[in-house]
């Protein structure tokens, strides 16, 4: 397969809150909670930010870096579980906001946390079949955990956009495959404000089984081993699960160094693995190989075997914010401001 990533961009909102601050409100040792999840801070969107605004900012960076004419985009898909509308696509707003309309197809994807990687696979198909010159795949979320729930300590906001094409490819996709089953580990019913989950069931039968099987299958197909890869990225609902599954598969901390971003910004859901991939691409060099294995509850994994090309040496990373700046920057806010920003305070009147 000659198609791959032509350009990319990431965006994470400015505000942060710590598990310690959240724990204070609920009488919980937040520091211990954060340590057990391996989450130091999580990002918080402003009241005027949502999946659409985050996606737009990330894609604008990708277009600037790649010097891509938005009118050449033939498909645009946004994977998220927090689309602002139940009916009306996020993708049309983003397409209009970057100047890509009207000559493109656009749609919203939903598959818990892996809708963004599913969008990449769809774009690879369209680009590979030469139906479009560029396809855009975005993973973006502003998900929430119910107040006091374990998810509240990690659920954050952010996203990343990837332009998929055949020319000037900086990360060629050598292989991609998926592993999908019906596993009810995490869900949100229509009309419900917060998601529900099945506690420990989200671990072994869900995240670990799917990620492990998918990773093994793609390495079998590619004829590779963990040693073949300079970098590896896993879906990261917290900082603990990806580190553990990486070790179980035989990857080292050094291989996971750039791909693990959740400890610093929290779980950005559909954006999580993709922001990790963006951070890897911020640091990757020509000739390196990268493995990414996403995961979405419900459940499924998408795996990608990337080869970093010589084109990355002349790619304008500095035309947009590096992921590192989001991991270290930001402003910490107290829980009261967080509650206001996330719509947990109800105003009087109608």
């Amino acid at each position: 397969m000659q198609a791959g990533v032509v350009s990319y961009g990431a965006y994470v909102p400015r505000y942060r809150i710590t598990p310690t601050e959240i724990g204070k409100v609920w009488g919980v040792d937040g520091a211990s909670m954060g340590a057990s999840l391996n989450v130091q801070r999580k990002s918080v969107p402003s009241p005027d930010e949502d999946t659409i605004t985050i996606s737009t900012e990330a894609l604008r960076v990708a277009l600037l870096r790649g010097k891509i004419d938005p009118q050449e985009i033939g498909a645009l898909y946004i994977g998220s579980e927090s689309h602002p509308y139940a009916v009306k696509p996020s993708a049309t707003v983003v397409a209009q906001a970057v100047g890509a309309t009207p000559g493109l197809t656009a749609a919203d994807f939903e598959f818990a946390c892996k809708a963004g990687t599913a969008a990449i696979q769809t774009c690879l198909g369209l680009v590979g079949a030469e139906m479009v010159r560029y396809g855009v795949a975005i993973g973006s979320d502003t998900s929430q955990g119910a107040p006091g729930d374990a998810l509240e300590y990690s659920a954050s906001a952010g996203g990343a956009a990837f332009v998929i094409g055949r020319e000037q490819v900086i990360a060629r996709v050598l292989h991609t495959l998926s592993y999908t089953t019906d596993t009810p580990d995490f869900w949100r019913r229509e009309g419900q404000r917060y998601p529900s989950h099945s506690g420990r069931f989200t671990g072994e039968p869900a995240f670990f089984r799917h990620v492990t099987e998918c990773a093994k299958r793609i390495m079998d197909r590619a004829g590779t081993t963990p040693k073949s890869y300079a970098h590896v990225v896993f879906h990261q609902p917290n900082g603990k699960f990806p580190a553990r599954v990486g070790k179980q598969l035989g990857f080292t901390d050094e291989q996971m160094r750039y791909g693990l971003v959740t400890p610093f910004i929290g779980n950005t859901y559909s954006g999580a693995a993709l922001i990790g991939l963006a951070n890897v691409l911020d640091h990757a060099r020509a000739g390196e190989r990268v493995l990414m294995v996403g995961y979405g509850s419900g459940a499924g994994s998408d795996a990608f075997d990337f080869d970093i090309t010589d084109a990355i040496e002349s790619y304008s990373r500095s035309a947009g914010a590096l992921v590192e700046s989001f991991l270290t920057g930001g402003v910490e806010i107290p829980y009261a401001v967080y509650a206001k920003f996330r719509g947990k305070i109800h105003l009087g009147g109608s």
């Binding site: 605004t53 600037l64 004419d69 938005p70 602002p84 209009q96 719509g343």
Partner: protein, 161 residues
């Protein structure tokens, strides 16, 4: 604001789509049909071309809102500013991602894409431009100039008076 009216204004709200007089190169935002700068307005008829602002500008005046209009309650306090863009037009817009009390005349800003307001819980959500500091604040990266369509370089425009 009606859905139809906001929809008509989408190009300018999403992408700072203004226009430029090809006779005298003055840039306008929002776009105009004729150029009031040209000595005779008739001279510019049919010669106004679309022009996308870069989103770069400077705060030339501001106020901090504590008593908001309906629909903006969750944003208070916020800074409402006049931004003079590098192309010339002056825009009224909120400056975000900064403590509103730190906004100053002379602050360099860039356009960013945000939710402007919601028509209640069940209505349409309106999006458009706001501005954010062009300099790094608290280590957070700042927004960039808007991407312009390839093959359409932003020709310099003469600033409006």
């Amino acid at each position: 604001m009606s859905i139809a009216r906001f929809w008509r204004e989408t190009p300018r709200r999403y992408n700072l789509g203004g226009c430029r007089c090809t006779v005298c190169t003055t840039v306008y935002f929002p776009p105009r049909v004729v150029c009031p700068t040209c000595t005779t307005h008739r001279q510019s008829l049919g010669k106004m071309e679309p022009f996308q602002l870069s989103g770069e500008g400077t705060v030339i005046s501001y106020t901090v809102i504590h008593d908001p209009a309906e629909g903006f309650e969750m944003l208070v306090p916020y800074a409402l500013t006049l931004v003079k863009t590098v192309e010339g037009p002056v825009l009224t817009a909120e400056v975000v991602d900064i403590d509103p009390h730190e906004v100053r005349i002379g602050l360099k800003v860039h356009a960013t894409f945000r939710k402007l307001r919601e028509e209640g819980k069940a209505g349409v959500i309106h999006y458009g431009y706001k501005f954010a500091p062009a300099v790094e604040v608290d280590g957070a990266p700042r927004p960039l100039p808007l991407p312009s369509p390839a093959g359409e370089p932003r020709a310099a425009g003469r600033a409006t008076a």
